[in-house]
């Protein structure tokens, strides 16, 4: 029987979808960036991304799958009629363990015509610690090339203060667990308020994930968190669908970006 791993690593097996990240201003939203989201081979047990990466972790091939996903994201992104900021997930362990990660990724980006200034890596992790020196130096090389860095899933798992201290992120991507329901939950609101203050203090833009209701949106905007992602604005979709989406019809804005 063909093993799941062989099926995942086959050419084109992992598909990419994009979910818009928007900037809200004066009652309007405009496209700010797109996050690339991996999907496993259709109709298989690992089609769901959480199962795909759980499987990869257990097989010890998380970094291999990360590299495949990054390349697939470049290829899908290159199909878009214009190129907003592209955000891609990468595990901290990949940054810390893959030889010459920065050179390899920047070469691949160049091959697909992706400018480093248009690229953001969302660092996520399920386990710590990793080789911190390599991790930090890889991030520095990426940053020197113009790539922006985000801490993903902030507020859950290993995405904590240590990650912020080590990453020096340009963006703080707040996990949906904290965001969802914040309109009616003072505890969530308090955590969001503290993240907004933290972002302001260290010059990192807070980005709320999982925005699904008007009540949550109102709370986030009250707190000054105006960079947003969630079903209230758009689901994830394949590149050909994104190209036709109303959010994508206007030229993307990069204002408000960190440098």
């Amino acid at each position: 029987m063909k093993r799941v791993l062989d099926r995942i690593q086959g050419p084109g097996a992992i598909r990419m979808e994009f979910q818009p990240i928007v900037k809200a201003s004066g009652g309007e939203v405009e496209l700010y960036a797109v996050e690339a989201l991996a999907r496993g081979p259709r109709g298989t047990s690992v089609e769901r991304p959480e199962v795909l990466f759980e499987y990869a972790r257990r097989k010890g091939v998380e970094s291999d799958i990360d590299l495949i996903c990054i390349t697939e994201a470049f290829e899908a992104y290159a199909q878009l009629p214009h190129q907003p900021l592209l955000s891609i997930n990468v595990h901290g362990s990949t940054l810390a363990s893959v030889d010459h990660f920065s050179d390899r990724i920047l070469s691949a980006a160049k091959a697909y015509g992706v400018a480093p200034e248009n690229l953001m890596f969302e660092v996520l992790e399920y386990r710590a610690p990793w080789a911190i020196e390599t991790f930090v130096s890889t991030l520095e090389m990426l940053r020197d090339a113009g790539v922006r860095i985000a801490v993903d899933d902030l507020g859950v798992g290993a995405s904590n203060y240590q990650m912020i201290v080590d990453c020096h992120p340009d963006y703080l991507k707040i996990d949906r667990h904290v965001v969802r329901g914040c309109g009616e939950d003072r505890w969530r609101r308090a955590v969001l308020e503290s993240i907004a203050t933290l972002g302001s203090s260290c010059g990192a833009v807070p980005v709320a994930e999982g925005v699904e209701t008007d009540a949550d949106l109102e709370t986030l905007l009250d707190l000054g968190i105006d960079t947003l992602q969630g079903w209230l604005f758009a689901h994830s979709m394949p590149p050909e669908e994104l190209a036709l989406h109303p959010l994508f019809s206007a030229k993307p804005s990069l204002k408000g970006q960190c440098s």
Partner: protein
Amino acid sequence: MKQLLIVDNEETILFALKRYFSKLRYRVDAACELEEAEALVAHTRYDLVIADLSLTSGGSTEGLEVLRFLRTRSPKTPAILLTAFGTPAVEREARRRGAKAVLAKPQPLPELARVANALLEAQP
């Protein structure tokens, strides 16, 4: 619709079990290796798991690992262990790890379905 996970490394058996239980209106996920089964259990709430004892070569016991992991993640989910290499020691260990039934393989599909249904009906 009840959610069922079937774990077996033999493609024809996996296919047959998936098809049979799907026709009985179960929603069926299928896994052919230990890590795949663990990844699914980690992110899915199953009503029942049916696992073969051996997922690599004759005599291996990955099915016991599936039971162990299931017990950690979802202790109330009943499990059936299938084995062509059954011994009293294996059966004891399987039950210690939470298996509600240990059945010889091959097992007639209607009998397997009867045991599965009985376990589901016994759930609170």
